[in-house]
């Protein structure tokens, strides 16, 4: 491996250095150093920033802002982010969680990126030096993104409004067959007034299950009420095939696991 690392105190300076061809941003290292170790010769230089704001978690009036360098372990142990702890703990084993960052997870290709699935369901915004983007827009263009992610921000849902499930073959820690995150709001009569459902491994990056979301609106969270949503859950998906599971298998089991999550 022949990599030169440049360290900058500000994101702005790091962004400028990142414009050099072959240069990648170093967050926790679980993606880019791994790529270099695997012999990815397109990586010839690394850039990082030690800006302290990248490590900050701020919670104010239910609004959460997490710096891009915050690790999964830091989220999992944060007293006010208990809602997200399960999603943060879904990422890797203990050592990986001490290294993997929020910013890096947004770039993790399927079957990785479980936390990004949670952020998609939470309708987060992604902050860069150039401003903020809705996460869906960011994920769609992430392959061509050259701006360093500085933070993610979202509104913490009401208690029990957020649900997360990672399906893997090896317990307690294995690579995802698929992951699902939902943010549901219910009317006084118990019917679903709004639903956001995000899926991991059902495309090369986290996607929304829009047909299922639409089918769930106005329905009750029982076997009959969710049937249409489950039937529509694979609509628009293009599951990945990898050594963990085939696209066919993922499509077959998605409705089963979505059903369990919605009824849990």
């Amino acid at each position: 491996m022949a990599l030169a690392l440049q360290t900058f105190p500000t994101v702005k300076d790091a962004n400028a250095a990142l414009k050099t061809a072959g240069t990648r941003y170093l967050g926790g290292g679980t993606l880019v150093v791994r790529a270099a170790n695997e012999g990815d010769v397109s990586v010839s230089g690394l850039v990082r920033s030690t800006d302290p704001t990248l490590l900050a978690i701020t919670v104010a009036d239910g609004k959460i802002r997490i710096g891009a360098s915050v690790t999964m372990a830091a989220i999992a142990r944060h007293p006010e982010l208990g809602t997200l702890a399960k999603a943060a703990r879904a990422v890797g084993g203990p050592a990986v969680r001490n290294m993997a960052t929020v910013g890096g997870n947004l770039f993790a290709p399927a079957p990785y990126g479980d936390f990004a699935v949670a952020l998609l369901a939470l309708d987060a915004t992604v902050g860069t030096d150039d401003g903020e983007l809705p996460i869906e827009t960011f994920l769609a263009g992430r392959d061509d993104s050259h701006a360093i992610v500085t933070s993610v921000a979202f509104t913490l849902p009401k208690a029990d409004g957020f649900r997360f499930l990672k399906v893997s073959r090896i317990k307690p820690k294995g690579v995802s067959v698929l992951s699902i995150a939902t943010v549901l709001e219910q009317a006084a009569d118990g019917t679903v007034s709004s639903a956001r459902i995000a899926l991991g491994c059902m495309a090369d990056r986290p996607i929304r299950a829009r047909a299922a979301e639409k089918a769930l609106k106005g329905k009750s969270l029982d076997q009959g009420g969710i049937a249409a949503a489950l039937a529509a859950s694979t609509e628009g998906t293009t599951p990945i095939t990898d050594p963990i599971a085939s696209a066919w298998y993922r499509a077959e089991v998605l409705p089963v696991h979505l059903g369990r999550l919605l009824l849990s």
Binding site: M1, A2, L3, A4, L5, T7, L26, G28, G29, T30, V33, R34, A36, N37, E38, L46, R48, A73, G92, G93, P94, A95, V96, N98, M99, P172, K173
Partner: protein, 160 residues
């Protein structure tokens, strides 16, 4: 390749080296410093054989660049024994036959040490979770889990 200075504490001793920029901590420890206790298994962050403790946190030395560790305190398995006396975890791994080929053992012991540092009386579930990032292809894991539980019991007996 540019050389960069790196200074950190390794198992209580100050280390200062000039290394090639971009060198992983695993390679710096093994090839430059001569501490071969962290093992290079997958180099992808999957097997955990290279696990070390950096400022109290379990980390993968194969995915950590050495130059990002300046100013830190690093612990490897070779630093656990004191005065020729094995650490309780090392002793328990021997006593319960928790090693076969031994390749995963240093990473397992590092993961277990972090667990016991924070949770002196872990449940079996705690141990399984703590070791979940470390792969062993020999033992079937059960002897390793028993070794960690044995070390925990030994620690609490010593403290009593």
């Amino acid at each position: 390749m540019a050389k960069v200075p790196v200074q950190f504490t390794l198992n209580g001793s100050e280390k200062a080296e000039f290394i090639d920029s971009g060198t992983t901590l695993l390679n710096a420890l093994r090839d430059k410093i001569g501490d071969t206790s962290p093992k290079g298994g997958c180099h992808q962050g999957t097997c955990g054989a290279c696990s070390v403790i950096i400022d109290g946190e379990l980390r993968l030395s194969c995915l950590t660049l050495a130059e990002t560790c300046s100013g830190t305190a690093i612990t490897t398995t070779s630093g656990l024994a004191e005065g020729g006396v094995l650490h309780p975890l090392q002793r328990a791994f021997l006593d319960t036959f928790a090693t076969q080929c031994g390749f995963c053992t240093p990473g397992m012991i590092m993961a277990a040490k972090v667990l016991l540092d924070h949770t002196p009386n872990p449940t079996r579930g705690d141990v399984v979770e703590a070791l979940s990032g470390n792969i062993c292809r020999c033992t079937g894991y059960e002897p390793i889990i028993q070794a960690v539980l044995t070390a925990a019991r030994s620690n609490s007996q010593n403290a009593a």
